[in-house]
Amino acid sequence: MLKLADYKTDEKSWWCPGCGDFGVLAALQRALFNLGKPPHEVALIAGIGCSGKIGNYINCYNMHVTHGRALPTATGVKLANRSLTVIAAGGDGDGYAIGMGHFLHALRRNPDITYIVMDNHVYGLTKGQISPTSDLGFSTKASPQKNIERPVKPLQLALAAGATFVAQGFSSDVKQLTRLIEEGIKHKGFAFINAISPCVTFNRVNTYDFYRQSLVNIEELPGYDPRDRSWAIRTVIEHNELVTGLIFQSDEPSYEAQIPGYREEPITEANWEISPEQFEEVLAQFR
C-alpha cells in the first residue's frame, strides 16, 4: 500500500524556514499519492535554483540538470519511457530567463509532461537578484538598480504559445495546488502550472500577504470556462496574472501521440535488435 510518507526523503531541507517551496513540494507529493503513482514510476527533472533542490526531498527518480534545461531533459525522459509520469520543475529564473526558449517550444510541442514553475519573482539561490518576473522598480542588495525590464507574464505567454493546459497555484494553498497538479498530471499533453512560491529571504514585495490580498480564484468567476482560450486571455490580462486555478485546458494530441511509428510500448522496453532481414532491407538503399 502506498503511503504519503513514501514520497519523502530523510534529506534535511536546504530551504529557508517559511520558503514557499515547501508548499509546492507538499502539493506535489500529495498529488502523486492521490493519483497512486508509485515513486519508481515518477521522474522529476528539476533545474538549478532553490526551487531546483526539490528533487532532494521527494522520493522518486530525480534529475537535477543544468540551469534552464529541465524541459528538454524531461522531454527526453518521456520519449525514452512514455510509461513514466514525468514532472519538470524549476524557478522563474530557470524557466523564464535562461530557459525561456525551451519553455515556449515545449508548449508548442505538447509532450505529456507536467511543468511546475516555483515563481518567487527573484533569484533565490544566487542571493537575491531580480528575475524575469520581478516587478518594475524592484531592487535588492544584489541588484541595487531598480528593475526597468517589464516582467514576463508567464500565463499570457503560455496562452499565446499554444498551451493546452495552463494553471496557477499559490504555495500556501496546498489544497488547490495539489488539485491543479493532479489535473496537470492527468492532462494528456504539456501541463503548465505557475506556482507562486514566495521567497521570504530576498523578496520583501511579493510576500504571502501581498498574494493573499491580491489573488483571485478564477474558478470562482461566474461561469468561467477554462475551455475558452480568448476568455482565458482576457481574464488573465484583466487581473494582471493574479489569478489562481485552472485557467485553460484543451484537448490537442500530445507530441508522443503524433510521432510517426512511435509505439505504445516504451522505447526502454522494446527489443532493439535488428534482424538480418531488416538490416538487408535498410541496406538496399545503398546498393
Binding site: 534529506e11 536546504w14 508509485p38 515513486p39 519508481h40 514510476e41 521522474a43 527533472i45 533542490k53 528533487g55 532532494n56 522520493n59 522518486c60 527518480y61 530525480n62 534529475m63 537535477h64 540538470v65 543544468t66 534545461r69 524541459l71 528538454p72 531533459t73 524531461a74 522531454t75 527526453g76 525522459v77 518521456k78 520519449l79 525514452a80 519511457n81 510509461s83 513514466l84 526558449g101 525551451h102 517550444h105 510521432i259 510517426p260 511509428g261 512511435y262 509505439r263 510500448e265 516504451p266 522505447i267 526502454t268 522494446a270 532493439w272 535488435e273 535488428i274 538480418p276 531488416q278 538490416f279 535498410v282 541496406l283 545503398f286 546498393r287
Partner: protein
C-alpha cells in the same frame, strides 16, 4: 586498361551536378568498383561553382586524387577552375553550346558534345547531363545498360516518359562518343564484382545508431551533420524510434541526456558551433554519469567559419571544452565503414562507462560518398553495461540505492526509472553515493577520482598501423586521424615506391589517447610527420602531451639511460584552407623534411 581513374563534373550549384555525380558513383559501385566522391560546394543554395569529383578503382580508394582523367564541364568556369588537374590525354567533355575553350599545354583533349541539342531533341532539356553520362560510359568502357538500369530506377516515379527521355539521352551520348572518339585510353579494368555499398559517412553513422539500438535522436540542423537526422527520420518510424528537431543544440543534447538517463540509447549530432553550445551539458552527462553519444562533424572553424569546408579542428574543444575536470572518450573513424562500427562501439562505451562518448567525424568523411564493403551485422552486439537487477535494488531498500557507489573500476551499476527501489538523484552537482548533494571534501575527492578512474582504465584499440613491420626502422612515420587516412595511405604507397620506408599510424581513438602504441612506432621512425587539417596542430598537441608522458616516465624510470625523445623529431603538416589533403601534398612535404633532415 586502368585500375584507377578520376572523373569530375562541374557547373553552377543547382545545375544537377550532385545528382549526375551520384548517378555515376552509384553505377560504378554497383559494377563492383571502389568509389570515392568529393564534392566542392559553397554555403549558398543556388549559383556559384560547384563540382563533384569521383575516383573509381578496382581496389579500395579513400582519397580524392591529385589528377583527373575526365572532366565534364557544364560551363566554361568549370574548365577554367579545374583543367590544371587533367592528366595528358585526359578528356574535357563539354556541351557544344557553351563554346568551350581549353587552355593550352595540358595535353588534354576537348570533346564537344551537343548536350543541349540532344536533350532538346529527346524532349527534355533537363536530361542534358545524362548525355554526358553516356559519353562517360563509352570513355571508361562501362556497360551503358548499367546506367540505363539506374536511371529507370531513379526516375521511375516520374513516369515512363521521363525514363524514356533519360534513356534516350544516355544512349545518344554513348553513340556520339563512339562515333567521335576513336580510342580511349581510360577503359577501366574489370572489378572484383563483389557486392558493395555506397554511402556517405553520415549515413554510416545513422546506420550504426540504428543497429546499436539508438531510438532517440535529438538534434538541430547544421552542415555537415544534418544528414544524420534526415536519414534517421526516414528509418526510425520503422523501428519505433523518435527524431526530434529541437529548438537549438542545448535542447538537443539535454534531450538526449534525458533519454539516456531514462535508459534509452540516445544521440545527438552537430558541428563545431553546436559543439560549443553543448559544452555545459556535456559536463552534466559526465558528472551525473549519463550515457549519451555525440557525433561532431567537424567543419571549417572557428565561429561560423567555413560551414561547407573540410577541417579537423574541434579536437581540443571536444576533449577539453567543458569547464572543470571532465575526461572524455572520443572515437575518430577514418572511413564510412569505420564510422558504422565506431558508432556502435560508441553506444556500448557510453553504456559501459556511463558517460558522454564522442564520434569525431570531419566534413570529408561525413559527406563524401564512398564504397563500403559488406557490413557484418554479426559483429554488432549491444552491451548495456552495468544495470542493477531487481535483487540488488531490493537489498538496498532500507538505506536507498547507491547509484554512485565508489567502486574499484569507478563504474557503479545504475538503476533505470521504472525499476522499483532504484530511485536516486542524478545531478551535476557534486553528490554522495546516493546522488544527494554533498560538499564534504573527502566525498568530493572520492567522486572525482571515481569518475577519472573510469576512463583512465579504458583500453581501446586506438591505432591502426600500415607499413613496414618491426623491427624495421622507418624513414618517416605519418600520423593522422579521420578522413586524412585516404590521402595519407596513397602518399605512403607512393613514397614506398620511391624507396622511402614509410609507416602510417592512424589514430582511431583520440581519448583516451593510444600513447604507448604510438610511442613505440615513433621510436622506430627517424622522423614523425603529423598530418592534420587544422591550423594549430591539435593532434600534435595530444601527441606532445601523451607520448611525452610515456617518454618522461621511461626517462624517470631509467635516469642514467639515454632515451631519445622521438618528439624532438616530430614535425607537422597542417592544411586549413578548407580543402582536404591531396596525396601529392603529403608526398612532397615528406620529401622536403627528409632532405632537410639529411642536410641538417
Amino acid at each position: 586498361m586502368q585500375n584507377l581513374i578520376s572523373w569530375k563534373i562541374g557547373g553552377e550549384q543547382g545545375q544537377g551536378i550532385d545528382s549526375s555525380g551520384d548517378l555515376f558513383a552509384t553505377v560504378c559501385n554497383r559494377l563492383g568498383y571502389y568509389v570515392y566522391g568529393y564534392k566542392e560546394f559553397s554555403s549558398r543554395i543556388k549559383g556559384g561553382h560547384s563540382n563533384y569529383k569521383i575516383r573509381v578503382g578496382v581496389e579500395p580508394v579513400a582519397s580524392t586524387s591529385d589528377d583527373l582523367h575526365i572532366l565534364v564541364a557544364i560551363d566554361q568556369e568549370t574548365i577554367d577552375r579545374n583543367h590544371h588537374e587533367l592528366v595528358p590525354g585526359g578528356f574535357v567533355v563539354a556541351d557544344t553550346a557553351i563554346g568551350a575553350k581549353l587552355p593550352e599545354g595540358r595535353g588534354a583533349r576537348l570533346l564537344e558534345v551537343p548536350m543541349t541539342e540532344i536533350a532538346n531533341e529527346v524532349g527534355n532539356p533537363r536530361v542534358k547531363n545524362v548525355v554526358s553520362l553516356g559519353v562517360t560510359a563509352y570513355l571508361l568502357g562501362l556497360p551503358v545498360e548499367a546506367f540505363a538500369d539506374l536511371l529507370s530506377r531513379t526516375y521511375g516515379r516520374h513516369g515512363k516518359e521521363v525514363v524514356a527521355q533519360n534513356e534516350a539521352a544516355l544512349q545518344r551520348g554513348y553513340a556520339y562518343a563512339l562515333e567521335h572518339v576513336l580510342e580511349t585510353p581510360w577503359k577501366l579494368a574489370p572489378s572484383d564484382g563483389k557486392p558493395k555499398l555506397l554511402m556517405i559517412g553520415n549515413e554510416a553513422v545513422g546506420l550504426g545508431a540504428l543497429v546499436a539500438g539508438c531510438r532517440v535522436m535529438s538534434a538541430y540542423p547544421i552542415t555537415p551533420a544534418s544528414e544524420i537526422m534526415e536519414w534517421l527520420q526516414r528509418e526510425f518510424p520503422k523501428v519505433g524510434g523518435v527524431v526530434v528537431q529541437c529548438e537549438d543544440e542545448i535542447a538537443a543534447i539535454t534531450m538526449a541526456i534525458g533519454a539516456g538517463s531514462a535508459g534509452a540509447r540516445a544521440m545527438t549530432a552537430t558541428a563545431g558551433p553546436g559543439l560549443s553550445l553543448m559544452q555545459e551539458a556535456i559536463g552534466l552527462a559526465h558528472a551525473a554519469e549519463i550515457p549519451v553519444v555525440i557525433v561532431d562533424c567537424q567543419r571549417g572553424g572557428p565561429s561560423t567559419g567555413m560551414p561547407t569546408k573540410h577541417e579537423q579542428s574541434d579536437v581540443l574543444a571536444a576533449l577539453y571544452g567543458t569547464h572543470g575536470d571532465s575526461p572524455r572518450i572520443a572515437l575518430a573513424p577514418s572511413s564510412a565503414e569505420e564510422a558504422f562500427y565506431d558508432t556502435v562501439l560508441a553506444f556500448n562505451l557510453a553504456d559501459r562507462y556511463q558517460c558522454p562518448v564522442f564520434v569525431m567525424m570531419d566534413l570529408s568523411l561525413s559527406l563524401n560518398k564512398q564504397t563500403v564493403p559488406e557490413l557484418d551485422l554479426s559483429k554488432v552486439t549491444i552491451d548495456r553495461g552495468l544495470i542493477a537487477d531487481q535483487e540488488m535494488l531490493e537489498s538496498s531498500k532500507g538505506e536507498g540505492f547507491r547509484r554512485y557507489k565508489v567502486t574499484e573500476s569507478g563504474i557503479s551499476p545504475r538503476s533505470l526509472p521504472g525499476q522499483p527501489h532504484g530511485q536516486f538523484l542524478a545531478t551535476g552537482v557534486e553528490h554522495n553515493e546516493f546522488g544527494k548533494v554533498s560538499e564534504d571534501p573527502k566525498n568530493r575527492t572520492a567522486m572525482m577520482d571515481k569518475r577519472l578512474r573510469k576512463v583512465s582504465q579504458l583500453k581501446l584499440d586506438g591505432l591502426r598501423y600500415q607499413g613496414p613491420e618491426a623491427p624495421e626502422a622507418l624513414d618517416v612515420l605519418l600520423v593522422g586521424f579521420g578522413s586524412t587516412a585516404g590521402p595519407i595511405d596513397v602518399a605512403r604507397r607512393t613514397l614506398e615506391e620511391s624507396g622511402i620506408k614509410c609507416g602510417h599510424a592512424h589514430v582511431r581513438v583520440l581519448a583516451p589517447f593510444p600513447a604507448e602504441e604510438l610511442t613505440a612506432l615513433m621510436k622506430r621512425a627517424k622522423l614523425t610527420l603529423v598530418v592534420e587539417n587544422n591550423a594549430t596542430g591539435q593532434l600534435a598537441k595530444l601527441i606532445k602531451l601523451f607520448v611525452g608522458d610515456v617518454i618522461r616516465a621511461e626517462l624517470a624510470a631509467a635516469p642514467g639511460k639515454a632515451v631519445s625523445d622521438p618528439l624532438v623529431r616530430m614535425e607537422s603538416l597542417l592544411k586549413y584552407d578548407g580543402r582536404p589533403f591531396l596525396p601529392r601534398e603529403i608526398v612532397s612535404k615528406v620529401q622536403e623534411v627528409i632532405s632537410h633532415a639529411k642536410a641538417g
